[in-house]
């Protein structure tokens, strides 16, 4: 029987991990992730979870350690945040290149300097090219559900790619909400066993000794990287399969890599990711009550990037109105250019323009907000939609200012 609990995002992640039965967990505490590994330690202590739990000396060691365990063919878990994720960066590429099916939780937090412990998405966005699948949760429930699904995706032999499950620091990791915790039998039926089957690729097979983590010269290296890319692109299908199967069995979630909200007839569309989507939805309901046709696309998976889904949702044949302007709201900036998510979205739009531009592409505006944990208010989101309306009507909006920092007036 599933049970309803009152949990924080961190605690929901710990529950999702417990139900997934990893064999080895490595932990190094960092705010705002610490509670995840503390709860898991308690679960190991109370024998709710049969796992080896190691308190290691650094994040770099944490990811290296679970890589070693995964090479032995067992399910693992670790979690980190911000500076810790940066310190792991070398091992992020190592693990994805080695095709180890790891799952890691990241509490999205700003990066030093200046030193700041609060939430934004600079950390995971900076490592978008590390070869990890990246998914962003909006709620504690989705966090729990995504951990379970992440194991199913990562370990799928077609995928064999590690998955990073991102939660907004504090806003999601530390706030409480009612969360349905599934029962163990249902999760056991959903997930493969935590010991990979004999002969699972890329793990030690004691009957067929081989060397893992090889070197490759210029002749072979590109082939390895091509296959890594090809399989990451193709992972969209297994992700949909897993999401769809999860929704069928557990009665929530979906197969979508992008989740639309009142978008089919929206003229002004905001694209965002993570927990701020909830506030945007509230604003959309209010603006709709005033007669404005506004909508939301919440990106769940940033890798593999769902370009085709995005183009279908913005320009597809099922739309009931043309999109007049697009906003991208994100908590990061690729210094010297634009927000990281805007770069992703615009690249997908360019491909659309090449394929079949209906009547030119709509204007796109990039809103950079919530850096270093700054709140993003309803009023600010309403002002963003105002900007989009002006951009749509080509009415007094400056296209040159396509990147707009929101909330700077509060900064010194």
């Amino acid at each position: 029987m599933s049970e309803l609990h009152f949990l924080s995002g961190n605690e929901a992640v710990a529950q999702g991990v417990r139900l997934s039965r990893p064999r080895v967990i490595a932990a190094y505490p960092i705010t705002p992730q610490t509670i995840v590994v503390e709860r898991l330690s308690e679960m190991v202590e109370s024998r709710e979870l049969a796992a080896e739990f190691v308190h290691v000396e650094s994040e770099h060691s944490a990811l290296a350690l679970v890589m070693g365990s995964a090479a032995m063919g067992v399910r693992t878990f670790t979690a980190t945040s911000s500076q810790g994720l940066m310190y792991m960066a070398e091992c992020l590429h190592y693990t994805s290149g080695g095709r180890f099916p790891l799952v890691m939780m990241n509490a999205n937090r700003s990066l030093a300097l200046p030193w700041n412990i609060y939430g934004d998405q600079s950390d995971s966005l900076a490592l978008l090219s590390s070869g990890w699948i990246q998914v962003y949760a909006e709620t504690a429930q989705e966090s729990l559900d995504m951990i379970i699904q992440a194991y199913a995706v990562a370990e799928d032999v077609r995928v064999r790619t590690p998955v990073l499950v991102n939660l907004d620091g504090f806003v999601l990791t530390h706030t409480y909400e009612p969360v349905i915790v599934p029962d163990q039998d249902t999760v056991d039926a959903f997930l493969p066993p935590p010991d990979f089957p004999p002969g699972y690729p890329g793990t030690f097979d004691l009957l067929r000794p081989q060397s893992l983590a090889v070197s490759a010269g210029p002749g072979d290296y590109a082939g390895f990287k091509y296959r890594q890319h090809r399989d990451m692109v193709a992972a969209a299908e297994p992700i949909r399969d897993v999401g769809g199967r999860f929704a069928e069995i557990f009665g929530r979630g979906s197969a979508d890599l992008i989740e639309p909200y009142r978008c089919g007839d929206a003229e002004l569309v905001m694209i965002t990711l993570g927990s701020i989507a909830g506030t945007v939805r509230d604003v959309i309901d209010d603006l709709r009550a005033d007669g404005l046709r506004v909508g939301l696309l919440r990106i769940r998976y940033l890798r593999p990037f769902p370009s085709e889904d995005l183009r279908r949702l913005l320009f597809g044949p099922l739309r009931r109105a043309a999109v007049a302007a697009i906003g991208i709201l994100e908590k990061d900036i690729s210094f010297g250019h634009q927000g990281g998510v805007a770069l992703e979205v615009k690249a997908a739009l360019y491909d659309q323009a090449e394929a079949s531009a209906p009547a030119g592409l709509p204007p796109v505006r990039n809103f950079i907000a919530g850096l270093g944990g700054q709140d993003i208010s309803r009023g600010q989101i309403i002002a963003m939609f105002d900007d989009l309306a002006r951009a749509a009507g080509r009415d007094g909006d400056e296209p040159a200012r396509s990147v707009r920092f929101v909330g700077l007036e509060a900064s010194r």
Partner: protein, 275 residues
């Protein structure tokens, strides 16, 4: 030239109020550092104070010298960079047992053997305080009050002074936050001693390790004459109970930075502005 009155402890404290818990040993270490700076009688602009990440690593912000709040575990590497670029500066480094011996443990070993002329204070409370009470590398194996290690770590703790000696530190001392005058004296000696000076300060965490209040019963002064030979220091430290205070080793290896040189005098700088 105007005659300046000597600087006081207050001159070396900044306006920032420490956010350490009441009763934390780190308050006394801050006092000891400022007393040492008064004793050293070095102008404030001639001192660089580098730290890592953690409760104790906030200490440079509470002083009135050049401060640098470094990357977690990397204080020693940053400090070496400071000293190599400006050999004329007095370089102090501080941080906790977690920062310096766990995530930064590798740097500790290599800073000892490189022997750059600087003074490193580890404020050791055998716990990660900032993330709310997890075991550090100096935590006893049977301490089971951490949620991450409810049965204790079960692994041998690092003994920082022995590690420093084995790795080649040129000056090794231990102090206790309960005796800030003694810690101040050790810092002064460490700064005067050429090469890499390491000072472990037992600095109780009253929040997560309240039993450390009893440390004041355990600490005892070591012998007056510190050993100058590694073998002798090693022999003494082999039977050390972890509470011997004072200078534990004073070696004579040449420092990585043999000569102190001033890169620019104030007169030169003034000339530049005048032209």
């Amino acid at each position: 030239m105007t005659i300046q009155s000597p600087l006081t402890v207050q001159d070396f404290k900044s306006d920032v109020k420490p956010i350490w818990c009441p009763g934390c040993g780190d308050h006394a270490v801050l006092l000891a550092v400022t007393k040492a700076l008064v004793e050293l009688n070095t102008p404030r602009e001639q001192i660089a104070f580098i730290s890592g990440i953690g409760c104790s690593s906030r200490i440079p912000a509470y002083t009135n010298v050049y401060g640098f709040h470094g990357v977690h575990g990397r204080a020693l590497a940053i400090a070496a960079g400071v000293k190599l670029a400006r050999p004329d500066l007095t370089v102090l480094v501080a941080g906790g047992d977690g920062d310096g011996l766990s995530i930064g443990g590798n740097h500790f070993m290599h800073a000892c053997r490189r022997n750059v002329d600087m003074t490193y204070v580890i404020m050791d409370n055998e716990v990660y305080g900032m993330t709310k009470g997890q075991a550090s590398p100096t935590t006893a194996p049977d301490w089971c009050n951490s949620k991450l290690t409810p049965h204790g770590t079960g692994v041998s703790p690092v003994e920082p002074v022995r590690l420093a000696l084995a790795a080649g530190a040129n000056f090794i001392a231990r102090g206790f936050a309960g005796n800030p005058n003694d810690v101040a004296r050790l810092i002064v000696e460490g700064v005067h001693h050429p090469g890499f000076s390491f000072i472990q300060v037992l600095s109780p965490c009253v929040t997560y390790r309240p039993e450390q209040r009893e440390w004041k019963q355990s600490v005892h002064a070591g012998q007056d004459q510190p050993p100058q030979l590694v073998a002798e220091a090693m022999h003494r430290l082999a039977s050390d109970d972890g509470f011997t205070t004072g200078v534990l080793f004073a070696g004579n290896r040449p420092a990585f930075m043999p000569e102190r040189k001033v890169t620019a005098s104030f007169a030169d700088i003034e000339k530049k502005f005048a032209s």
